[in-house]
C-alpha cells in the first residue's frame, strides 16, 4: 500500500456547505494531484502542485480550490457545495519520472 491518505472516505453533505477534502503523503513527493472521477470511470485532472506554494488548475474547470503549504499536505476545498459536485475525488503524488501513487479516494455526495 502507498503512503498517501485521503479523508474522509465517504461524505454526505448538504447544499451550500463548505467542505475540505484532506490528502496527505509521507513519501516526500513534490508533485501532487487531484482528480475527479465520473461514475462512468473517466478521470479528470482538476488541480496539481509541483511543490510548496505552487498550485495550478487542471484540464477540467472546477469550483474547488487547493493549497500547498507543506510538502506532505494538499487539501481541496469547496466553499459552497452543490449537487453537481457529487463525485469521487482521487488524490495522487509522484516524483518526476516515477509512477503516481493514489489515495483510496473520497466519495462525495451533495444533497
Amino acid at each position: 500500500e502507498a503512503d498517501i491518505y485521503q479523508t474522509p472516505r465517504y461524505l454526505v453533505i448538504g447544499t451550500g456547505k463548505k467542505i475540505t477534502l484532506e490528502c496527505s503523503q509521507t513519501m516526500g513527493h513534490d508533485k501532487m494531484y487531484w482528480y475527479q472521477q465520473d461514475p462512468g470511470m473517466e478521470l479528470h485532472l482538476i488541480h496539481y502542485s509541483y511543490g510548496v506554494n505552487s498550485t495550478e488548475k487542471g484540464d477540467l474547470s472546477s469550483e474547488s480550490t487547493v493549497s500547498r503549504i507543506r510538502t506532505e499536505h494538499f487539501p481541496l476545498t469547496l466553499e459552497s457545495a452543490r449537487p453537481s459536485h457529487t463525485s469521487q475525488y482521487l488524490c495522487a503524488s509522484r516524483r518526476h519520472y516515477t509512477e503516481a501513487f493514489f489515495g483510496q479516494g473520497t466519495r462525495l455526495t451533495v444533497v
Binding site: Y33, M41, E42, L43, L90, H96, A100
Partner: protein, 113 residues
Amino acid sequence: AQSVAQPEDQVNVAEGNPLTVKCTYSVSGNPYLFWYVQYPNRGLQFLLKYITGDNLVKGSYGFEAEFNKSQTSFHLKKPSALVSDSALYFCAAQEGSQGNLIFGKGTKLSVKP
C-alpha cells in the same frame, strides 16, 4: 494535443484465456507510459510502466505490456486471465520526465468463470 485512447469500454474474457486491453497514445517527445488498475471503491494501483529499454514490460500480478513506437501503442496483456482480474484498467501517458499524466477513459475488464 496530447491524448490517450482506450478504444474498448469493456473487454469480456473467459477465465484461463489470454486477455488484451488496448491503449494508444499521442504525445510529443519520448513518452512515459503506465497502466493502472482500479477495484471498486478504491484508488488506482500501479501495474507497470515503460520509460525506456526493452519494449516488453512485465508488471504486477502476471501482467505485461508491449510498447510499439511505430503504432504508438502500449497494450496490456496477460497469458491466462483470472476472475480476480475483473476491474477497471487505465492507461496513462506522460511527455518526458516533467509532464503531467494523461489518462485514457478506462476499460472495464470482466473475466467470467
